[in-house]
């Protein structure tokens, strides 16, 4: 016997509810994980704070992925598929995606430069200090966002980027709910909302560590700029880092607001 087709209205509604439930679950879990890391003991030397935002974003990405995985309802015996090519870029918010990509490049470049400039602190922790040598005299400041902080940040951020890629692939490839052609628009809005959440989560993932590392770096660079033998580029780099930190902080706020106050799938 042929199984009747599912009611398309219910199918789209059920998909939207499951996708949203996954996203909200990820958001709640992310807030808890972020708060736990941020309030870590002082023996972590601020590493928990540095990883709080990436952990929040990772949980949210996992929530989006789980929601998209759960979105598929029972399959009827008679199945239909539109002859369409769905692409990730059709669902991504174009402007936000470019901003996030730019922030990612800035973070990677910033971390590499910080690692190259860093030196070991008085306890021998690699890259946790910035040293300025003036002949026989040297001055150093700590903490510095060198290898000690940059490596775990880079690992977590790039692992979460892989998770984001999986979530995006899933939201594009999951089957369309219902069988009525008119449901495509509603389903596309659900996918676009998920893609927007992924983009904003990656935005937090990237912009928050960028804000933190550049803020710390600017403070250390400007404090060494007062040394007699400080090169001219030191204060310039310090102020440039401060500017990047300000922009990244604003972006982090925008991305968090995007996640917490969803726009119902509009782009």
């Amino acid at each position: 016997m042929v199984t009747p087709l599912l009611d398309p209205t219910d199918a789209v509604g059920r998909t939207a509810r499951r996708v949203l439930a996954g996203r909200v679950g990820g958001l709640v879990l992310g807030l808890a994980a972020g708060a736990t890391l941020a309030s870590g003991p002082s023996s972590w030397l601020g590493l928990g704070l540095a990883l709080a935002a990436p952990a929040f974003a990772s949980c949210l990405l996992a929530g989006v992925l789980v929601g998209e995985l759960l979105a598929v309802g029972p399959r009827p015996a008679v199945r239909t598929a539109a002859l369409e090519v769905r692409r990730v870029r059709s669902y991504l918010p174009p402007v936000m995606t470019r901003v996030v990509a730019g922030a990612l490049v800035a973070l990677d470049v910033g971390l590499v430069l910080a690692v190259l400039a860093g030196s070991a602190d008085d306890q021998g922790r690699p890259g946790r200090a910035l040293t300025l040598s003036c002949g026989d005299v040297s001055a150093w400041v700590s903490p510095w966002p060198g290898l000690f902080y940059a490596l775990p940040i880079a690992v977590v951020v790039h692992a979460a980027l892989a998770l984001a890629a999986v979530a995006l692939r899933r939201l594009v490839r999951r089957p369309r709910p219902g069988s009525h052609p008119d449901d495509r628009g509603a389903d596309d809005r659900v996918r676009a909302a998920s893609a927007r959440a992924v983009t904003a989560a990656v935005g937090v993932l990237v912009a928050a560590p960028l804000a933190g590392t550049t803020l710390i770096a600017s403070g250390r660079l400007l404090s060494l700029a007062g040394q007699p033998c400080a090169p001219v580029w030191l204060p310039v780099t310090g102020w440039a880092s401060a500017a990047v930190a300000a922009v990244a902080t604003v972006l982090t706020g925008v991305f968090v607001a995007t996640l917490v106050v969803p726009r119902g799938g509009r782009r």
């Binding site: 399959r75 199945r79 539109a82 002859l83």
Partner: protein
Amino acid sequence: MIGRLTVDTTDPVPPYEQIRRQLADLIRHGVLTPGTRLPPLRQLASDLGLAAGTVARAYRELESAALVTSRRGGGTRVAEAPASSTPAERDELLAISAAGYVAAARRLGADDDTLLAAVRRAARAEPG
């Protein structure tokens, strides 16, 4: 308008053959024009709840029949000069489609009058 595929998993015809037939019909009758990109294998398999290998087999057979071309990174597209169907081929395709419909209707317990009435209603809904 976007073409659609339907796969009946209770049909004795294997799903890959159902996909192959429907795509071949759509290409031969010009619904899918040359250069049109077919859905990616995994997307179509996911949409139909089938294994990727099932859709891959349908695409391979269409490629063997020179109806589509596949290129790494470029997906699967309708061939530039697909063989156009002759009246005899169209009659054959019609007969195959009719046989499939009759088989499905019989499984539902429809007699001749009921299944013909359904065909007439469908024809009225979509006049030629």
